[in-house]
């Protein structure tokens, strides 16, 4: 029972965060067929910006929107510095964009190191009590109001995202660009702006997730690469470009992480190895993911 509760608590909280970051990958991939190799570093940017704001004396409730906004700005900056200068290119056959988005992440991380510092940090929880409930233990496993907030806000964001995509003009433009950018631009859609928006939203999602997650996994530089790769794997499991797939993949990996931690004392350390194997298996068995559309290649 204890184990099951622990798996659920870990799987739902970390899974929610992975889902949000994976959503960022999928969104950018949908609009531009590019994988933003700087997406993982948004977790670091968001966490450290929130820490800096709190250190300056502001409450954590103010730090959240500020960090999210800066995440969006960094997303735009990545698009402007790493993607736009390359002009027109075919992401499937060129590698320059991988180098530039990766470069952008190194620059962002070093700028954070120079301004805020490199040590791991903690930031306070966003939510300490819900109507007087200050957390409790279920079968010996602590569950905090913040955990509920993580899951609830992640789910809310996903629902909002789904509504925006299907019911608004902007969402339709996004789907049009993702299916056929040339046709979309002939219909008067500014594809550059749609792509830039997707980078901004992806950055905001990453930074937002980082602030939510901080009470559980701290604010540290390692998170950028490790969670970044995990979230990418989540996006691939679900099917790159599919928003629902990204959410599904995020929770799958969250639960895998929970199970590992419960069944083995060094589970957290061997997690990258397990994720690596899962990733390779998915790519062999179902390279388009669980919910992704198959790619038809023309000879």
């Amino acid at each position: 029972m204890t184990d099951l509760v622990q798996i659920f608590v870990y799987g739902l909280t970390v899974g929610s965060v992975l889902a949000l970051v994976a959503l960022g990958y999928s969104l950018v991939f949908a609009t531009s067929r590019v994988v933003n190799f700087a997406q993982g570093s948004m977790l670091v940017v968001g966490g450290f910006v929130a820490f800096a704001v709190v250190r300056a004396g502001a409450p954590i409730w103010l730090a959240l929107p500020i960090a999210t906004a800066i995440g969006a700005l960094v997303g735009v900056a990545v698009h402007l510095t790493a993607i736009r200068p390359l002009g027109k290119f075919d992401p499937a056959s060129s590698v320059g964009w991988i180098l530039t988005t990766f470069s952008a992440s190194l620059v962002a991380l070093d700028l954070i190191k120079m301004t805020v510092g490199a040590e791991p940090r903690t930031i306070p929880s966003l939510l300490n009590s819900i109507g007087g409930w200050k957390g409790s233990t279920i079968s010996g496993i602590p569950v905090s109001p913040n955990d509920l907030l993580i899951v609830a806000s992640a789910l809310a964001l996903m629902v909002v995202g789904e509504i925006v995509q299907t019911r608004t003009m902007g969402g339709r433009a996004l789907r049009a660009v993702s299916q056929d950018p040339a046709a979309a631009s002939l219909m008067g859609i500014n594809t550059n702006r749609v792509v830039m928006t997707s980078f901004a939203v992806a950055g905001a999602l990453g930074a937002f997730a980082a602030v939510l997650l901080a009470p559980r996994l701290f604010v540290k530089f390692d998170n950028g690469l490790l969670l970044g790769i995990q979230a990418f794997v989540a996006a691939v499991i679900g099917g790159l470009g599919s928003t629902r797939g990204a959410v599904l993949g995020g929770y799958v990996l969250g639960f895998v992480g929970g199970i590992l931690r419960v069944t083995s004392s060094s589970g957290g350390q061997i997690e990258p190895l397990v994720i690596f194997v899962v990733f390779l298996l998915v790519l062999v068995v179902r390279p388009n993911g669980l919910l992704g559309a198959p790619v038809i290649e023309k000879a």
């Binding site: 056959s93 070093d110 390779l280 000879a299």
Partner: protein, 615 residues
Amino acid sequence: MSLPTRIHLPSWATRAIAPASLFLFLFWYLNGPGAQRSWLDLGVEATYLAAIALGVNLLTGYTGLLSLGHAGFFVVGGYVGAVWAPAWGVSPWFGLPAAFVAGAAMGALLALLCCHLRGFYLTVVTLAFGSLLPALVVVLKSALGGTSGRNVTKPIDVSILPFANGDSYRGLFVLSTIVLFATLWLCRNLVHSRWGRASMAIRESELAASSSGVETYLHKVSAFALSAGIVSVAGVIAAERFLLVSPSAGGQDQSFRYVIMIALGGLGTLAGPIIGAFTLTFGFGLTWVQEHLVNQQNLVFGLLGLVGVALAPEGTMGNVNKVLAKLRHRQRKDASSPVTAVTAAAYTLPVRAALTASGPPALELSAVTKRFGGVVAVNDVDLIVEPGEVHGLIGPNGSGKTTLLNMISGITPVTSGRVMVMGHDDTHASAPKRCGRGVSRTFQNLQLWKKMTVRDNVLVGCHRNLRVNTFQAAFGTHGAHKAERAAVQRSDELLALVGLSARADDLAGALPFAEQRRLEIARALAASPSLLLLDEPAAGLHPSDVHRLLDLIGTIKASGVSVILVEHHMELLMAVSDVITVLEFGSVIAEGTPAEVQNNPAVVAAYLGVEEDVA
């Protein structure tokens, strides 16, 4: 000013270039900047990083696969070559080959797992591979020494090397430089060989490479293994330098630096990686940089990556080569050398096996069907191509002609049915295997390797005939040179046949459309096919070029090669075909001689149409 396209030296002189330049470089550096200890140390770093860059360039620059995990092999090399091998009681010198073998084996293993992937998927797998190291350090704490790493207790005695004068610092520089020159020599041999051309062909169009007989998957594995082995050897030298193997050197930012060095110097060039590695290493060695930027190395590399890739996507050497190519081009124009044309009639094509009329058909399709989801693209097609026959294949757009060719050449697997080539059941054979059997093709939407020269395009066509393995190529053996010369001669003959002799040294992408079409035919013929598949060779051609094509097909037919010709140009098709098969909605609706097909009412209704003013 005269710029020779290729300098010809006597063979003893070419063989002496590498050792002589090694000698001069060592002599100069050790008596010049290397007299200072700090510069000696930088020299060691610059040379092993240059060797790494050359190795990674084989994979990233030439084969077009971007790895962000190669620093992992650097650490593997350190452990195997500098810690474990000496601990087994063998001479520490054996650490160098041991590291190469271990790194190459691990590289091959990783590649076997991920080389079926395309583009960024492969990059992410390598990135994830690199991030495994911290996990392994925890799991294998006793073997790897935890996060602080392992000390090198039995270092290689480098002080005995020439030029070292008994000093181990100088000796390490000598060793590192020898490794760099050896790597450069191996890379140079590989790049100008069958191996290097196949790599570039994969980079430019994997589809065409595999149709030309390149086993693309295995080739990518070999590129991965070679680059990983080279990086591992460099890892040994780095371990000797610090007398420590630290897992932190295996991070993804290190792997990224390897690639950025190459990208700034010039991906897919030999000098580029060395320029990049030397510039950045000595740049970071400058006092000012050491004082102000040493803690912001990732920032510097990141900015270099952003600016470099955007402003000079082909790197320093890419731009230098462009200028050189322009100068050479101008010079050739001035010289206006007379073109020696081989008349088609005077030339007989090399044919694989003499096909006799009594032997098995060149191709026999039985009940071949292809479904894409619910769509039936090709439905229950039977087709026989006799030896030496030109077999026309016509039908409206979307009737399944190209899908049929893809199934014959092995690019698309059949859903059901049987494909017999030269009497062998090749239903499940891959595209390279079928090329080996004698099936060769051209593509409707051209699949040339545009950034390779015209001659190199044809030379890759010779891939299967050019029997040189990777070791012979890497060490430039006598046999390899001999086979290479024969292949070059043959390619030049084929280029003469299609009238492209004058363009042999130009990039394929620079040719006008009609010449690109002819180049594809020359490339296909280089494989000495028994069955040639031509997919709309006349599409988009000027009438005079169509005439030329007609002659060419006649020559091909005269040499006994069977041809399947997919074409909308009726005049051409009717003139050269012995038999014509007509497809509609994936099914055969008629087959017969040109005259029979032209008068078949079903064909007229489906495809040819009626001229209204005939009456």
